[in-house]
């Protein structure tokens, strides 16, 4: 159980660790999370298609205007739908997606514990 607590702490630290990024890093971070919609399975960061290049320019503009990462994602979601984001946001549609593996981990652990580590009657 202690292991689990440590794991959880690390997990949350990871999610909230703030990195001191400069603009290019921020741009890269955002464009890595955007799907190139005219490519087959590439991010906007990786792609050199017209669409990707335009989108990189646009994201740079929006960053210069002062928008946050989250606001830019929202802006693009309105135009293109959630499909453009590679990181599925945690909402009522994706809660199963994020929690099911964790649930499996916990349940799996419990079953193993019960079957192999508790003395039989």
């Amino acid at each position: 159980m202690k292991i689990l607590k440590v794991l959880l702490v690390i997990f949350f630290l990871f999610s909230y660790s703030s990195v001191n990024a400069d603009d290019q890093d921020e741009l890269n971070k955002i464009t890595k999370n955007l799907r190139c919609l005219v490519c087959q399975g590439q991010s906007v960061y990786d792609s050199d298609s017209e669409f990707a290049i335009s989108l990189k320019t646009l994201v740079k503009q929006k960053l210069n205007e002062g928008l946050s990462e989250y606001q830019i994602y929202n802006y693009l979601k309105i135009k293109y739908g959630e499909w453009i984001l590679y990181d599925p946001e945690l909402n009522k549609n994706t809660i199963v997606l994020w929690l099911l593996p964790i649930l499996i981990f916990l349940i799996g652990g419990a079953i193993i514990f019960k079957n192999f580590f508790l003395k039989n009657k």
């Binding site: 005219v38 298609s49 017209e50 335009s54 320019t57 646009l58 503009q61 293109y80």
Partner: protein
């Protein structure tokens, strides 16, 4: 009792998975624009193609009118192929065709229009592609049917005769 429940439970789960995959097959995998995406036209500034004056979106699009916004470029091969259909649609006075010249060189674009004709009431330019993204476009060619400052339908790729007929039908 638990022993008997488990197989039953597992079979049910696989049954559900089967049904989902089966239904998933019937769906086409071409991404069609979501109904949840924006319906209002974007508010933007741009430059007029010929005069290079600054234009506001409200200068171009008026309420209670029907427009077809067509994104085009001189270097875009399918744009050439759909262009004559736009010339035909121009004759219809129920709709105005607006052009968005995308990432283009002015000389080449002017030549393109001289060669194939100009169906556009107004043309504005997008040098870096960001205006097209404001519209939620994927690339070129792409066309938007607009009424009352709302996007009625988006056509990705070149127009063809069927789509023109559809447009004509919708604008009645």
């Amino acid at each position: 009792m638990k022993k008997k429940l488990l197989p039953f439970f597992v079979v049910i789960i696989f049954g559900i998975v089967f049904i989902v995959f089966y239904k998933g097959l019937e769906d086409t995998n071409i991404y069609t624009p979501d109904l949840n995406v924006q319906k209002d036209i974007p508010i933007f500034n741009s430059k007029d193609f010929y005069s290079e004056k600054v234009l506001k979106s409200s200068d171009i699009f008026e309420l209670d009118k029907t427009y077809l916004l067509n994104i085009w470029s001189s270097w875009c091969v399918p744009c050439r192929q759909e262009h004559h259909l736009l010339m035909i649609l121009k004759e219809n006075d129920k709709i105005d065709i607006i052009g968005l010249n995308y990432k283009d060189n002015k000389k080449n674009a002017v030549k393109f229009l001289q060669e194939l004709g100009n169906p556009y009431e107004k043309i504005f330019i997008d040098l870096d592609g960001t205006k097209a993204i404001e519209w939620g476009a994927y690339g070129v060619p792409e066309s938007f049917l607009i009424y009352n400052n709302e996007i009625i339908k988006k056509y990705i790729g070149p127009l063809n005769e069927d789509l023109i007929s559809e447009i004509k039908y919708l604008i009645k």
